[in-house]
């Protein structure tokens, strides 16, 4: 039986990596991810985790070391946040396009300047096109579960891709929550040993990361795009199998009291839990309202999203990141694009908030919904709103 333990979410991530019996951890500490790698360093130092721990000199090196360890078929874990994810940026593409499976927890953080160590989704959105599978989480249990699932997904022979597990910096990373820590034998049953079919082998030499002139680059990218889009099936299958062993079920797009609702709010990450309370309150007040929560960010679950919002008149998309110079929040842009060619679709409003660690309360989400409804009216010219900004 799994043990229910009160634990900081960052430490639970370390425990998940330990249960996954990772071979290599290469990471550089950065707020608000630090407790994750500190805990892993402790587990390695006191012999609880038999893993190579590479204390690198930067995030660029962390991700580069991870490329190498994944290429020899070692189960590889790292974690970062904010500026650290940005410093990794160019190497992230390499991990995905060379199909090197690994798992990275990202304690989502705002980007400078002004310097902020607090949470938002700026770092996620800057790496959305890198080719990684990316999953949002809402609470400590989900983070723990998703790290285990991420290894299983990454290492699935039909997938073989790196996976990012997004958790909100501080709002999740530094919370102490009751978390069911799975038993080792359950995890072993769910997550068999990693057998990377392409592992570097002197007896079978290959070239990884070769040069591609214009005559072949487009073909390589198309192959990558088709492959990434096709991994959704394996992701859903992994979550189904996780549910059959552990009893907790995850879906690419999840809803809350959304069936037949005229107005829908859409959220990602831990703020979804606050938004659920808002929905309860507004439902109790007689409002026709529901919530759509995006869990799978890459590959983007277009079909599931369309299905979830098809009957709504208004969809208010809440982004915790700003796409400077654009006309909507980054998630909202994609949602609009996914719906645009449909005959019947909700009007979509983009509300941005929760930037740089700013909290959004239950009352705040009610305000956001009301602002969004006003913006979505046909006569409204307003495309975007940054919530709660003082004049």
């Amino acid at each position: 039986m799994a043990k229910r333990v009160g634990m900081e979410v960052s430490l639970a991530i370390g425990e998940a990596a330990k249960l996954a019996d990772v071979d290599v951890v290469a990471a550089y500490p950065i707020t608000p991810q630090t407790h994750i790698v500190e805990h892993l360093a402790e587990l390695v130092a006191n012999g609880e985790l038999k893993s190579a721990y590479i204390p690198v000199e930067s995030e660029h090196s962390a991700m580069s070391a991870c490329l190498g360890s994944a290429a020899v078929g070692a189960r590889t874990f790292t974690a970062t946040a904010g500026q650290g994810l940005e410093l990794m940026h160019e190497v992230l593409y390499v991990a995905a396009s060379m199909q090197l499976p690994m798992v990275m927890a990202v304690a989502n953080r705002a980007l400078s300047a002004p310097l902020s160590v607090w949470g938002d989704h700026s770092d996620v959105m800057a790496v959305r096109d890198t080719g990684w599978i990316q999953i949002f989480t809402e609470n400590g249990q989900e983070v723990f579960d998703t790290v285990l699932c991420a290894f299983r997904i990454a290492e699935d022979p039909k997938v073989l891709l790196p996976v990012m597990v997004h958790l909100d910096g501080f709002h999740l990373s530094h919370m102490i929550e009751p978390i069911l820590i799975s038993e080792e034998d359950e995890v072993k049953r769910f997550l068999p040993p990693f057998k990377y079919p392409l592992a570097l082998d002197p007896k079978k030499p290959v070239t990884m990361g070769a040069f591609a002139p214009p005559v072949i680059y487009s073909e390589a990218r198309k192959a990558q795009e088709v492959h990434l889009a096709g991994t959704k099936e394996a992701i859903v299958k992994c979550w189904d199998e996780f549910a059959s062993i552990f009893g907790r079920r995850y879906l690419p797009v999840e809803t809350y009291r959304a069936e037949g609702a005229k107005t829908l709010l859409m959220t990602m990450g831990s703020f979804s839990e606050t938004a659920m309370e808002t929905i309860d309150k507004m439902r109790a007040d007689g409002k026709d309202i529901g919530l759509v929560r995006l869990r799978l960010w890459r590959p983007f679950p277009t079909t599931e999203l369309r299905q979830a919002v098809k009957d709504a008149e208004t969809l208010v998309v809440f982004d915790r990141a700003i796409s400077l110079g654009s006309q909507a929040g980054p998630v909202c842009s994609e949602v609009r694009s996914a719906l645009y060619n449909l005959e019947k679709k909700p009007r979509v409003a983009s509300v941005i908030g929760g930037l740089g660690g700013r909290d959004v309360t239950v009352a705040g989400f009610e305000e956001i919904i009301n602002i969004g409804i006003k913006m979505a009216k046909k006569e409204s010219q307003q495309e975007i709103e940054i919530f709660g900004v003082r004049e």
Partner: protein, 98 residues
């Protein structure tokens, strides 16, 4: 299976992770096509010291059974390093025809 050339490969032919499964495939790449000048040897001045062979960055120069050196024009990019380094002015860079 016959190896397809790059221009014949479709996206479905791309290996997992875009790896190249054939070892040493760079040997098939004709870098000689980059050349605008080519090295010409006047072996009457050559004492077979081998500096051209040592300095060639592409390993395009090999020693022949008679001891003189010959350039493999399939790989030679015409960089001119051999001509610059030769202490006896054996090698002259001349423009490629056409």
């Amino acid at each position: 299976m016959a190896v397809k050339s790059e221009s014949e490969l479709g996206w479905k032919d791309i290996e997992t992770g875009c790896i190249v499964t054939e070892a040493g495939s760079a040997a098939q790449y004709p870098t000689g096509g980059w050349r605008s000048q080519k090295p010409e040897y006047d072996n009457s001045k050559c004492n077979k010291c081998g500096l051209c062979y040592i300095y060639c960055p592409d390993c395009s120069i090999t020693q022949q059974p008679d001891g003189f050196y010959k350039v493999d024009m399939f790989y030679c990019k015409g960089c001119g390093i051999c001509a610059k380094e030769c202490p006896r002015d054996v090698i002259t860079m001349v423009p490629e025809a056409g």
